[in-house]
């Protein structure tokens, strides 16, 4: 019979009993107070509703019952002072938990202190330490709270466990005579909730680490192990699992419970702020939620003893920063949020992690995890640095359009943000450090390079000559990192064109095309039929043709019908030239024949005509040769160029998916060497 069923029977028995009158014991309330460990962990609202229901059954509210029976009309008729004192303490505790009254809590403490000499009884000891722990939480006293919870374990849980197990094996743990032994599953549950939930509700966010051991014990075959007593849905097992998983994983601070709870709390605030942002935009409530989130992350950061902990906080808080910038751009709202975190700070943490990569990485807080988990933490932080950088820079580009009078200022700000990420990337994208970079970093570097070019050549109104040079160079770097963005090729010529330097196009792009066509990584990718092999094969064929390269740089996709028409014109022109050549040839032959007649009509004029026709014929033949060359080149290159148009969209797909398989290809191509550019530029 479960505790719930026991409470049901109790209620039935009580229903037929007389309603309590002031000053006499209520059997209803006595029963419910004795089993308060079943429901005392409910939140205040649910607890209040429960107590009201019990009060209806008893015919007297708990508040009045306490005032009358335990105070005004005391002493009572019962001789069991110990039980009465315990019930009184529990009753006051329940009033406190349901209504938040500090006086009730003090009355509860005062009552239970009266049993300090009877803590050999487990039930007394449980409520004694539970009530004192509740008061410690109210006072924000982490040290006392920890001590009380440890005492619950030492003086209640461990002694009950051995006997409970034996009774449970014999199916006797839930028999009426088992007394407080039956409470053990609830004691586990209540202890867990006190440590991981109520402590956070009460803002006790420091010095909880000694309780980390208790959390591990609770998770190990205790909380959630009695689904017949406490259903899985009502248990805090899942939350404990998350906590212990975090404590043991790489998003930890070497197993610190305080840090884990602080980071989980910050994540909860973050989720809430995200929900508000999606629903209400950047309104006052959302801004408050964002500030609360930042504050919670700041608390977690302060609780971190190790670089591991700092890395875990930065990985999450950077996401928040990026989300704010995206929201400001999307909603066209300018707000200022104080952020004690920065991309530079995250780069500093990452650099510390990277410095220990050859040896000593465990000492940064990763001694409980594998090297792969440590590297994965670095990759995740790197990814957040790159995404936040891209979001912030994109925001500045957007601002440059919104405020034309400050376009140069915003464009330069964007270029600086992109540039900072590029410098970071190039510093660490080395052969010996590449394991710490995510696959998507190479595409992010491409976007940053392209971003610098865009900022200085397209968004800035009056870039300096040096900026134009830098922008052009960054376009070239971008294509070296990701040569498959067809739309970037005409951007280079457009950028060069703005400053009269179109003639440099071929010189700039030739090494890039050679890099693509000679890439062993790309060849094996295509030959192996890896993802997007077909699309990439088209682009490689196109880049292998110098004429297609020119199409890619100078032709716009909208001009394809025009180019087709020009090819048709060339073919018509060839037909016309062929006819003209045939006619001229026939005429020349006729003139030659006439010149050999025995009586020439006019020898001088005949020789002139022949020379004139021969010249026209030579001109026509030369024109035909050029036309046929043009037709041959265009017939070969134009279909290739048209095919490249079908490859559009790969960049957008990769931007949307950090796990896009082509990211792996970019990494391989980068590290197999890039002609014409130093890896450490």
């Amino acid at each position: 019979m479960g505790i719930g069923a026991r409470l049901g029977l109790l209620a039935l028995a009580c229903a037929i009993a007389n309603a309590a009158s002031a000053g006499t014991e209520s059997t209803v309330w006595s029963g419910y107070l004795d089993y308060a460990y079943v429901y005392s962990s409910a939140d205040s609202k649910a607890l209040g509703e429960r107590l009201q229901g019990y009060g209806n059954e008893a015919g007297i509210s708990l508040e009045r019952y306490v005032a009358d029976y335990f105070e005004t009309l005391a002493p009572h008729e019962s001789g069991d002072e110990e039980t009465l004192t315990r019930r009184k303490a529990i009753a006051y505790l329940l009033l406190h938990l349901s209504k938040g009254s500090p006086d009730s809590l003090e009355a509860s403490v005062k009552a239970i202190t009266g049993l300090a000499h009877r803590l050999d009884r487990h039930e007394n000891a449980y409520w004694y330490h539970y009530i004192l722990a509740t008061r410690a939480l109210e006072r924000g006293n982490a040290g006392d709270f920890v001590q009380e919870m440890l005492d619950v374990w030492l003086t209640v849980v461990v002694p009950l466990e051995a006997t409970y197990q034996t009774l449970d094996n014999l199916s006797l743990s839930d028999e009426p005579n088992s007394g407080f032994l039956a409470a053990l599953p609830y004691v586990y549950e209540n202890t867990a909730r006190m440590i991981v939930l109520r402590s956070q509700e009460k803002g006790v966010d420091r010095d909880l680490d000694p309780l980390g051991a208790i959390v591990r014990l609770l998770y190990d075959g205790r909380v959630g192990a009695y689904p017949e007593v406490i259903p899985a849905a009502a248990s805090s097992r899942a939350y404990l699992e998350r906590i212990v998983g975090r404590m043991d994983g790489p998003e930890s601070d070497v197993g610190s419970l305080t840090f884990t709870l602080a980071l989980l709390e910050a994540s909860k605030h973050h989720e809430h702020a995200r929900g508000l942002l999606a629903r209400d935009g950047l309104g006052a409530e959302t801004q408050r939620a964002l500030r609360t989130t930042t504050g919670a992350y700041e608390v977690a950061f302060k609780r971190a003893h190790t670089v591991e902990g700092q890395c875990a906080v930065y990985t999450r808080v950077l996401r928040e920063i990026g989300e704010v910038y995206v929201a400001k751009q999307r909603l066209n709202i300018e707000i200022e949020l104080e952020m004690p975190f920065s991309i530079e700070g995250a780069i500093g943490v990452w650099a510390t992690l990277r410095a220990a990569m050859p040896e000593g990485w465990e000492a940064l807080g990763y001694q409980n995890v594998t090297r792969e988990q440590y590297l994965d933490s670095m990759r995740r932080l790197f990814e957040e640095i790159q995404e936040t950088s891209l979001n912030v820079a994109d925001y500045y580009l957007w601002r440059s359009v919104q405020e034309p009078q400050r376009a140069d200022e915003h464009a330069r700000a964007a270029a600086r943000v992109y540039g900072r990420f590029l410098a970071f990337f190039h510093q660490y994208a080395t052969e010996d450090g590449k394991a710490a970079l995510p696959d998507s970093a190479y595409f992010a570097a491409f976007e940053s390079s392209k971003g610098v070019g865009n900022a200085l050549l397209a968004y800035a109104v009056k870039p300096t000559a040096a900026e134009v040079g830098l922008g052009t160079d960054r376009y070239r770097s971008a294509l070296l990192l990701f040569p498959f963005d067809r739309e970037l090729w005409p951007a280079i010529t457009a950028g060069l064109g703005r400053h009269g330097r179109q003639s440099e196009y071929a010189k700039i792009v030739r090494p890039i095309a050679e890099h693509v066509t000679r890439s062993r990584a790309l060849s094996s990718w295509i030959e192996g039929g890896e993802p997007e092999a077909k699309r990439l094969a088209i682009l490689r064929s196109a880049l292998a043709d110098s004429e297609v390269l020119l199409y890619m740089g100078f032709a716009e996709s909208g001009r394809i019908p025009e180019l087709d028409a020009e090819l048709a014109d060339l073919k018509t022109k060839r037909e016309s030239l062929l006819r003209e050549i045939a006619e001229l040839g026939a005429r020349r032959d006729t003139l030659r024949t006439s010149s050999r007649d025995p009586v020439p009509a006019a020898a001088d004029s005949g020789a002139d005509d022949l020379a004139d026709v021969a010249q026209k014929l030579a001109d026509a033949e030369a024109q035909l040769l050029r036309t046929e060359q043009q037709i041959a080149a265009r017939s070969r290159a134009l279909p290739l160029f048209k095919a490249t148009l079908q490859t559009d969209g790969l960049a957008q797909e990769m931007r949307a998916r950090r796990d896009h398989p082509v990211h792996v290809l970019l990494r391989r191509m980068y590290h197999e060497g890039r002609p014409g550019e130093s890896k450490h530029e």
Binding site: L154, V158, N169, S178, A213, L217, S256
Partner: protein, 176 residues
């Protein structure tokens, strides 16, 4: 089992549990006895044996978690936690573990000696993590006495693997 019988049984089990939980200093001294007090009341079979085995297994796992927490605090350089946890673990050992380990019989019982040796090794290791090297050596000395001639029996040490008892003792003594 009727209710009266059950109550008596629960009372007796409860008393036994309470006695087991009491600090060893509260136990009466048995003058002239070669056996420890726990020996006389020691359970030797049936449900009591199962209960003892389950309790010992549970305590072994508890000690593993204590060791992890102590180790983590040390690695974080969190002296406050290390000290607070040390007091707690010390009390746990004194109040619950030592009474459990006091009996001689379980070190000779074929169904219990494995977990008994594991538990003693885990206790020694926890004491090492608490910087109680002297007490840890005492535990290892007692292991040597109790398991003399059985140094080749396999024990769960280091955690997650097995090794002969003699080697495990040597490893802990060496500070591994």
């Amino acid at each position: 089992m009727n209710e009266r019988t059950l109550r008596v049984w629960i009372m007796s089990v409860g008393c036994a549990a309470f006695a087991a939980c009491a600090p060893s200093s509260y136990q009466p001294i048995e003058f002239g006895s070669t056996e420890k007090p726990a020996e006389e009341a020691a359970p030797l079979g049936g449900a009591s044996l199962d209960q003892r085995r389950e309790s010992m297994s549970r305590m072994y796992k508890d000690l593993v978690h204590f060791r992890t927490s102590l180790d983590d605090a040390e690695e974080r350089g969190d002296r406050t936690t290390a000290v607070a946890l040390g007091y707690f673990v010390d009390a746990y050992i004194g109040m619950h573990l030592d009474p459990m380990l006091a009996g001689e019989w379980q070190s000779r019982h074929p169904e219990l000696w494995g977990i008994d040796a594991d538990l003693r090794l885990a206790k020694a290791e926890v004491l090492v993590h608490m910087h109680e090297r002297g007490r840890a050596n005492d535990v290892l000395d007692e292991l040597g006495t109790r398991y003399a001639g059985r140094e080749d029996m396999l024990v769960h040490y280091p955690i997650g693997s097995q090794s002969p008892l003699g080697k495990a003792v040597a490893l802990i003594r060496a500070g591994d």
